[in-house]
């Protein structure tokens, strides 16, 4: 750990950072070519569709988050508490959305729900339900990992047993003991989910939903600089959301670390 090696490490960091942000800078520079400066941004934010689709996507995102949390938290908790041997399998299942292309997912959804006993894809309401359902699946990896990491940080078994010996039932344990200690994890999972839902294109297009992803892509077909501007705006919004997580996260993380008995 002499000076030289420390320098080398910082160099690696800086190179990695540049490597990563260069594309972003390139996009930004490109969006700036429209004259006058920032006019691409002005055009975009003036378009009523911009706000409409963004709000639609945000609402879908929030619904997705609620469904996802309701499914994942009890499952992850129970697996950690009683079925630790199932953990690798559950983890595996939650990873599937990474490896199944969304096109397959939407393909299958449409085929399954277009006719038969549940013709959801036929109506607007049904399509919205399908969209939330599909996004819930997409959110599984992020949400499960976030929750699982959160559960790891607390001593799930002892806390549960302590609550039980004090007379608490499962619902109370979940609501008063487990979930309050997952605050940061849930926030982190929620924001990631939101970011993905807002940016998603394939599924929304196939289900013909007025979402933000298809709107960007539509823009991409017609305009030159605006898609870059829109992408950067949505990226900026996500960034703000992520910044919020790390703000929330810092305080709570120190707390959790200090608490545990070594």
């Amino acid at each position: 750990m002499n000076r030289l090696s420390r320098l080398a490490w910082w160099l690696v960091f800086i190179v990695g950072f540049l490597y990563f942000f260069l594309p972003l800078l390139g996009t930004f520079a490109f969006s700036m070519r429209s004259q006058p400066l920032f006019s691409a941004y002005a055009v975009v934010t003036d378009d009523p569709q911009f706000a409409e689709t963004l709000i639609y996507s945000f609402i879908v995102g929030v619904l997705t988050i609620i469904v996802s949390i309701a499914l994942i938290v009890p499952t992850a908790y129970w697996v950690r508490l009683r079925l630790p041997r199932l953990r690798p399998y559950i983890e595996f299942i939650t990873l599937l959305p990474f490896v199944i292309p969304p096109i397959i997912l939407v393909f299958g959804l449409l085929r399954t729900y277009s006719g038969g006993p549940l013709p959801l894809a036929g109506s607007d309401f049904g399509s919205n339900v399908l969209l939330v359902a599909a996004y819930t699946v997409l959110s599984f990896p992020y949400m499960y990992r976030a929750v699982d990491t959160g559960l790891r940080a607390i001593d799930v078994q002892s806390l549960t047993e302590a609550s039980q010996s004090l007379g608490a039932g499962w619902l109370r344990i979940l609501v008063q003991v487990i979930i309050p200690n997952l605050r940061v994890s849930l926030l982190s999972g929620a924001f990631l989910t939101l970011a993905i839902v807002v940016g998603e294109f394939t599924i929304a297009t196939f289900l013909a939903r007025p979402a933000f992803g298809p709107y960007i892509s539509l823009l991409g077909g017609n305009k030159a600089y605006e898609p870059a501007a829109v992408s950067l705006i949505s990226f900026g919004l996500t960034w703000i959301a992520m910044g919020l997580i790390s703000l929330f996260g810092r305080g709570a993380r120190t707390r959790v670390q200090v608490v545990g008995a070594r």
């Binding site: 002892s158 047993e161 039980q164 007379g167 003991v177 200090v258 008995a261």
Partner: protein, 366 residues
Amino acid sequence: MAFLELSGIQKRFGETSAVIDFNLAAERGEFVSFLGPSGCGKTTTLRMIAGFEQPTAGTVAVDGKDITRRAPNQRNVGMVFQSYALFPNMTVAGNVGFGLRVRKQPKDRVAKRVTELLELIHLPDKADRYPYQLSGGQQQRVALARALAIEPQVLLLDEPLSALDAKIRVILRNEIRAIQRSLGITTVYVTHDQEEALSLSDRIVVMSEGRIEQIGSPFEVYNFPATSFVASFVGTLNVMTARVAGAAEGRLVMDGQPIRAARPVTIAPDGANVTIAFRPEMLSMGEAGANRLRGTVQDVTFLGSIVRIRVHLASGATVVSVDTFNDPNLTVPEAGAEVTISFPPEAVLVLEAPPAATAEDLIAEA
């Protein structure tokens, strides 16, 4: 009828037996410790009383009621964990009052009881702190208060002091004992530390490999161990082999030197080999006792209040430890000095022959 009764408790995990035929009857207000090395089944037994594990066979009864099949949150049992297990999202007051809020007690009664308990554990001014703001010892006292808040029928403690520093362990141990006495609550305490068990308990259950080795008062367990496991696990012990010379009169020969026991040898005939044991503190330097052995000093260890002198017996390979109280004026023999050690016939414990596995063997393997 005992207050807490465990009858014929067995617990198997797949192929392995964690607990084998455990029977215990504890009176109301009694302080019982389960003492043994890691993996002896003591924690599993405790967890069966709490309801976190279901016994494979046998029953757990409290105050005459069979609670074997009752869920843990239906048992009214207080539990204190090694890891404290305080709720990180609640203040000290929130933690202590949790069980009362579960029982839907009115707010002002909860507040009153919390105040009472925080005074009991000498932390009246910490009500609004969060667990992470407290030291380990303070956290464990809060955990104790939380378990006591619900006025449990039985208080269970699972190695509550293992995560703490040596000095704090002793202080907290005394505090636990004082609180238990003042409340008169029936208590089961799991530990691997013999000094904790001896100083706290009314009775000790010594366990090894899932079985009870002995149940008795600290005095009985220490002075009259039932098996050589108990003898060597509880306290320090000189264990050696001797030949029975006169069973009726308690005459033995060790390394060619004659020894007298206080009681007749009943477990082996004349000429047979037996295991004998004596505590280091029963021996003394000089010729005061009826039994005398000659040897040379091997080394001297200073243990604080006690000075331990190890003596290599002149007649063989055996090394014997002798404890004396430390004293600034004490003249300790040099290593290599020739000495006589002596002990009364009462000091000699005659244990089963041939020597069975002792705690040291088990530990060397463990």
